[in-house]
Symmetry: C2
Subunit: 345 residues, 2 copies
Amino acid sequence: MQLSCPMPKLDFDIITLGHGSGGTLTNRLLESGVFNLLANPLLNEKHDGAIFSLEGKLAFSTDSYVIHPIFFPGGNIGELAVNGTVNDLSMCGALPKYLSLSFIIEEGLPMTQFWEILCSIKAAADNAGVSIITGDTKVVEKGKGDQLFINTSGIGTLHPKADIKLSNIKAGDKIIVSHQIAAHGMAILSVREGLEFETQIVSDTTPLHDIVALLLDTFGNDIHLLRDPTRGGVASVLNEIAKDSRMGIVLQESSIPVDDQVQGACELLGLDPLYVANEGVFLAIVSPHIADALVTLLSTQSKTSLAACIGTIVPDHPGQVILHSKIGGKRVVNMLPGEQLPRIC
Amino acid sequence: MQLSCPMPKLDFDIITLGHGSGGTLTNRLLESGVFNLLANPLLNEKHDGAIFSLEGKLAFSTDSYVIHPIFFPGGNIGELAVNGTVNDLSMCGALPKYLSLSFIIEEGLPMTQFWEILCSIKAAADNAGVSIITGDTKVVEKGKGDQLFINTSGIGTLHPKADIKLSNIKAGDKIIVSHQIAAHGMAILSVREGLEFETQIVSDTTPLHDIVALLLDTFGNDIHLLRDPTRGGVASVLNEIAKDSRMGIVLQESSIPVDDQVQGACELLGLDPLYVANEGVFLAIVSPHIADALVTLLSTQSKTSLAACIGTIVPDHPGQVILHSKIGGKRVVNMLPGEQLPRIC
């Protein structure tokens, strides 16, 4: 494995139960380079928690990442765990500041893999402008975990113009998707199923805080809701929104951007891209008068160059999502009924 | 199983992969009662994160709980996960306010067990005065987890008189333990090994925030450091403190409070109580002139009625912990070398 940052010299090759003991081996694992790699003044205190000050309204979010496999086309569980929580904070309208980082390691994980993931965590945190200020390391016996699970929790400061909540949604609001959908889910599925395509489908894991800040700077409280359609895909998130807001949603299938190769892979496997998981993609529900300008602004940014308005909030059929298909029909789009692809994030 | 709060009527008996899909089944699991049970205005927003305001300095801490078995004498993984993070915040000198709650469930977990744990979480959160404001639920395949892992991360507000940090430790400072040690580790070991004692040894999991607040109100910055000796026990934490502060530590074995039954169980198994994990116990390193008064104050509280001064910070033998034994000898107490009892918290 090509490590993206040099691994310190260690007297062990794999993680053992003792590395989760809280004793000598835990200390050696952390002191061997983890603390140096992630160093910042708050983490360096090495207390049970970190102390800091932040002004104004704060956002707090948590996610445990159990993705399988832990290395996948376009990323690994480490950067996913950073970007995922950065994006959950972004969806609240917050600028991510601090993360916690908690590992549940299955004994036997090669140290080279753990180090590679740590390096990705460091790079992703730097890229998103967040500091990892507190953490935890547990080790479970072989067969009681699956290589590595990561929890990150995050704290961010609310953008001064953010007023993002479900109750702000109004009939007539437009639904915008920030980019092509379904890439993350199909990237994971392709490696799990051993599928080969002409070019590899890669996960779209990426932090979205900068783009969300740009949108809030420009459009403020005309942005009513932001959500990232990860597990369950666009269909499940829109169903939740329709149900909780007691409004209806109309989607235009022809407007929904899907990469040709992803679309082809979905067809091959009989999957609807609307149910496939995304990572670096978000949905915005916005006042109708800014919808075009917002899509235009998104299209100037590389991560969101294929943004599109895909639907409208309507007062009819509350709780339901109706798709107008490419061939002129209409159908109800339900929430994901079962489990399409377990452990996608 | 006797549930401590009534379980809602459900159309499923066990947790399946679909409950982690982000789709219909996840929604049903959460809406079936989880949201009602834990309800508070911030959680009720059901966004990707929660928004709040807190004044002043904040503390942030995280822990993943992988204890085995998940039900044990004196508690279960749910209340442990709340109390553990409440106590990590308390050790920073903070009043715990908000928790996140993230589950990694192995498919097949009976819903009655999950509900009992949720009820314990709710009771422990109420008891500690914290609100659970954001969360996550993942499900992994049978054999890829072990019933249930829980991550809690917490945010608290720093006590105005708290100034708790390693660099405040001075030669001459006294080391106080809040109560009898080693009960949690021996409670878990007794059920794992099927040991029977005359009366059952029970875990001492309990929140310590109220007692810490009382100490800070009374003694302020004469309290230099607080730590809870969980994994690795008192010996490992004191070794970390000695190493990181570059000071020596002298312990008086005869002063260290251990319950007779716990002591007997340790002897039976050849274990040193200094290495056995604790939950509702903390160490305080304090100015010598307040040590007696602090022990007296602790002894008025039921959770800390057997508090004792067990040692002193010294300028000699920096980085080392020396124990003066009951029979007059001296020995070096090292950090826990291997893994005495995996998955103790």
